[in-house]
C-alpha cells in the first residue's frame, strides 16, 4: 500500500492534468522514487488513481526503459552503448564496471546498491563515453573516474 502522504501528492498531481492518463509516467516515477520499482501491488494502486485498468498501465510500464517492474538497486547505472560511446572505449568502461561491481549487464549487486543496465544513446555524445546514475549524467568516463564515482556513492550509502 502506498503511504498516505504519497497517495495525496499523486492525487493532487493527477488533478492538475486535463486527462488523468497524461500523468501515468509521472505517477510511476514518483512511486519508484520511494519504493525503487513498480510492484504488482503498486501497479494496481497507481492504475486506480489514474482511472486506468492495471493492464493498461502494464502496457506502459513494460514499454519504457525508465520504469522498473522488478526490484533494482539503490543506484541504477544506465550505461550508453550506442555508436559514439562504442567508438570511444565503451567496451573498456563496460568491462571495468562489471568487474568492479562483480555483476553482468542487467544484474544487481548482492548488497542491493547497484543495478547495471544497458542504455540506448542518452544524448551526451559530445562527452562519450557516458552513463546515467539515477538520471544524473557522467561523461568522459575512464576507469579511474568510474572508481571515484562508485567510491563516492558507496560512501554516501554508508553514511545514510
Amino acid at each position: 500500500m502506498l503511504f498516505d502522504a504519497l497517495r495525496e501528492s499523486l492525487l493532487q498531481q493527477i488533478a492538475q492534468a486535463e486527462h488523468p492518463r497524461e500523468k501515468a509516467i509521472d505517477v510511476m516515477c514518483e512511486i519508484q522514487k520511494h519504493y525503487g520499482y513498480m510492484s504488482d501491488e503498486a501497479m494496481k494502486e497507481a492504475a486506480g488513481l489514474l482511472g486506468m485498468t492495471p493492464l493498461e498501465l502494464e502496457e506502459l510500464a513494460t514499454f519504457y526503459d525508465f520504469i522498473f517492474r522488478e526490484p533494482v538497486g539503490r543506484y541504477v547505472i544506465q550505461l550508453c552503448d550506442s555508436a559514439m560511446c562504442l567508438i570511444n572505449d565503451y567496451e573498456t568502461i563496460r568491462d571495468h564496471l562489471c568487474a568492479r561491481l562483480q555483476i553482468g549487464m542487467g544484474e544487481t549487486t548482492a548488497d542491493g546498491l547497484f543495478t547495471l543496465l544497458p542504455a540506448c544513446c542518452i544524448g551526451y555524445c559530445d562527452r562519450a563515453p557516458a552513463m546515467l546514475i539515477n538520471r544524473k549524467v557522467y561523461g568522459y568516463l575512464t576507469k579511474q573516474k568510474i572508481d571515484e564515482i562508485l567510491d563516492k556513492l558507496i560512501a554516501e550509502a554508508k553514511s545514510s
Binding site: E18, H19, P20, R21, E22, K23, A24, I25, D26, M28, C29, L50, M52, E59, L60, F63, Y64, D65, F66, I67, Q78, D81, S82, A83, M84, L86, I87, A119, C120, C121, I122, G123, Y124, C125, D126, A128, L132, R135, K136, V137
Partner: protein
C-alpha cells in the same frame, strides 16, 4: 565568427536568464505579434522565411501550421518534441541549456499562430536537467506575464507544461509522441487524419521540434528575408545547430549558417580530425541517414544539397568516423539500437531489424557468408513496407555501408574475422 541567433546568449558555464534574453530583444516579437498581427500574418511570415523542421524531416513549419483549418475545433494543442533520441543528436539539450526563453517565446507565438491553448514540451528522462530548467523558466515567464490568461493584455490565453517521457526512441515519432502524452502505448498512428486535424485527445495539434520553434521569435522580429540571408546556400534558410561527435578534436554543438560545407564544419569548427586520424566517413544527421564518404567531404550541409546527392540532412548530428574505425561494427551497433527500439507494432520492423542485425553480427564476428550481402540488400528494401519511418531510416546505414564500403564487408567475410582487430 558567423551570426549567432539561437546561441547569441550562450554562456560557457550557465543558462541565460530572462533579463539577458530580453536585453537581446527577447519577447519583443511576442508583444508585437499580439498587438498587431493576425494568426495568418504569423503563418505567412514563417512560411516566407522557409523555416524547415529541424527534427529531421525538414517539413516547412509555416505550411504545417496552415494545415490547421480556420474552422478547426477547440481546444488546439502544440507539442514540442524534445525527445531527441536519434543517436548522435544532442542539439536540443544544448539549446535548452543555453537560452530556454527563445524556446518558450517560440512556443507561445506558435500557440498564437494556431490559436492553441496549451503547449506540451516532451522531454526524455536522460534530459531531466532540461525538464527542470524548462519548468523553472516557464514559471519565470508566467510571472512576467508572457504565459497564462490574457497575455500582455491581448486576451490571448496560453500555457506550457513539461511532459516527462519514460524513455523510448519511438516516442520522438510525430504521431507516437501523441499517444505517449495521452498515456497510451506509444505506437505510431498512420495518417490521415493528420495531427493538425485530429491529434492530441482528438483535437487539432501541431507537432514541432524544439529548435524549429526557437527560431520563430527571431523570424517575427527580423523578417523572412533576414532569415533566408543567414544561410550559406541559395535555397537554404537560417542557421542550423550542428552537433558533431566522434573522431574530431572538439566534439560539440555549434550554430552555423545552414549549408556550410562538411569540410569546414570538421576542420574549422571542431578542430579537425584527432591526431593520427583520417576522415573515413560520417553519418550527417543521426543514425537514420546514409554514410557520407571522402568524396562527399565538401558537400554543403543543407536539406537540398544532401538530397541532390541522394542523402539526407536528418538532425544534422554529424558522427565522424576515422580510418581505424570498423564500419561493420558501427553499423551492427546502429542496427542493435534500432532492433531494440522498435516498438514492435508492425512485422517488417519487429522481425526484420533483428534479422539484419544477426547477419551483420555474423559478418563482424567471422561467420559471414557472401550470400549475406544480397540478403541484407533485399531486407533493406523490404523494410520500407514498415508502418512508420523507423525501419526505413534504420536501413540507411546498412544500405550505404554496402554501397560505399562493400569491400570492407567482403574483407570481413574473406578473412573470417574483423580486419580491424
Amino acid at each position: 565568427m558567423y551570426p549567432q541567433v539561437l546561441f547569441q546568449n550562450r554562456k560557457p558555464d550557465r543558462i541565460a536568464t530572462l533579463e539577458e534574453y530580453r536585453r537581446s530583444g527577447g519577447y519583443e516579437a511576442l508583444r508585437a505579434v499580439l498587438q498587431s498581427k493576425s494568426r495568418q500574418d504569423v503563418i505567412q511570415q514563417v512560411a516566407e522565411a522557409n523555416l524547415l523542421g529541424r527534427g529531421g524531416a525538414g517539413f516547412p513549419a509555416g505550411k504545417k501550421w496552415a494545415l490547421v483549418p480556420d474552422d478547426a475545433p477547440f481546444p488546439r494543442y502544440i507539442v514540442v518534441n524534445s525527445d531527441e533520441m536519434e543517436p548522435g543528436t544532442f542539439k536540443d539539450r544544448v539549446l535548452i541549456h543555453a537560452d530556454p526563453h527563445t524556446v518558450i517565446e517560440g512556443i507561445i507565438i506558435t500557440g498564437y499562430a494556431v490559436s492553441a491553448k496549451k503547449g506540451f514540451i516532451f522531454v526524455r528522462p536522460s534530459y531531466e536537467s532540461c525538464a527542470v530548467i524548462l519548468e523553472r523558466e516557464i514559471e519565470v515567464a508566467r510571472q512576467a506575464g508572457f504565459l497564462g490568461d490574457n497575455i500582455l493584455g491581448s486576451g490571448f490565453c496560453f500555457d506550457i507544461v513539461v511532459h516527462r517521457s519514460g524513455g523510448r526512441y519511438i516516442c520522438g515519432e510525430g504521431t507516437a509522441i501523441l499517444n505517449a502524452i495521452m498515456g497510451k502505448r506509444p505506437n505510431p498512428m498512420k495518417p490521415p487524419p493528420y495531427p493538425t486535424v485530429k491529434g492530441l485527445f482528438g483535437q487539432p495539434t501541431v507537432v514541432n521540434n524544439v529548435e524549429t520553434l526557437a527560431f520563430v521569435p527571431h523570424i517575427m522580429r527580423n523578417g523572412a528575408a533576414w532569415f533566408k540571408s543567414l544561410a550559406a546556400t541559395e535555397s537554404a534558410a537560417g542557421t542550423k545547430l550542428y552537433c558533431i561527435s566522434g573522431k574530431v578534436n572538439r566534439p560539440g554543438c555549434v550554430e552555423l549558417p545552414m549549408g556550410v560545407r562538411l569540410s569546414e564544419i570538421i576542420e574549422e569548427h571542431c578542430g579537425g580530425m584527432l591526431p593520427g586520424s583520417e576522415f573515413k566517413a560520417c553519418l550527417p544527421g543521426g543514425a537514420s541517414t546514409r554514410y557520407l564518404t571522402p568524396e562527399h567531404y565538401h558537400v554543403p550541409m543543407d536539406f537540398d544539397s544532401l538530397k541532390a546527392i541522394g542523402h539526407r540532412l536528418g538532425t544534422a548530428a554529424i558522427m565522424v568516423f576515422d580510418h581505424k574505425t570498423c564500419l561493420v561494427k558501427v553499423t551492427l551497433n546502429l542496427m542493435q539500437f534500432f532492433a531494440r527500439e522498435s516498438c514492435g507494432w508492425c512485422t517488417p520492423c519487429r522481425e526484420g531489424l533483428p534479422y539484419m542485425r544477426d547477419l551483420l553480427e555474423r559478418i563482424e564476428y567471422g561467420e559471414g557468408k557472401e550470400e549475406y550481402i544480397p540478403q541484407l540488400r533485399s531486407m533493406s528494401q523490404h523494410l520500407w513496407n514498415a508502418y512508420c519511418a523507423l525501419a526505413p531510416g534504420a536501413t540507411c546505414p546498412v544500405e550505404s555501408l554496402l554501397t560505399f564500403f562493400e569491400e570492407e564487408v567482403r574483407e570481413h567475410i574473406r578473412q573470417r574475422k574483423c580486419p580491424f582487430k
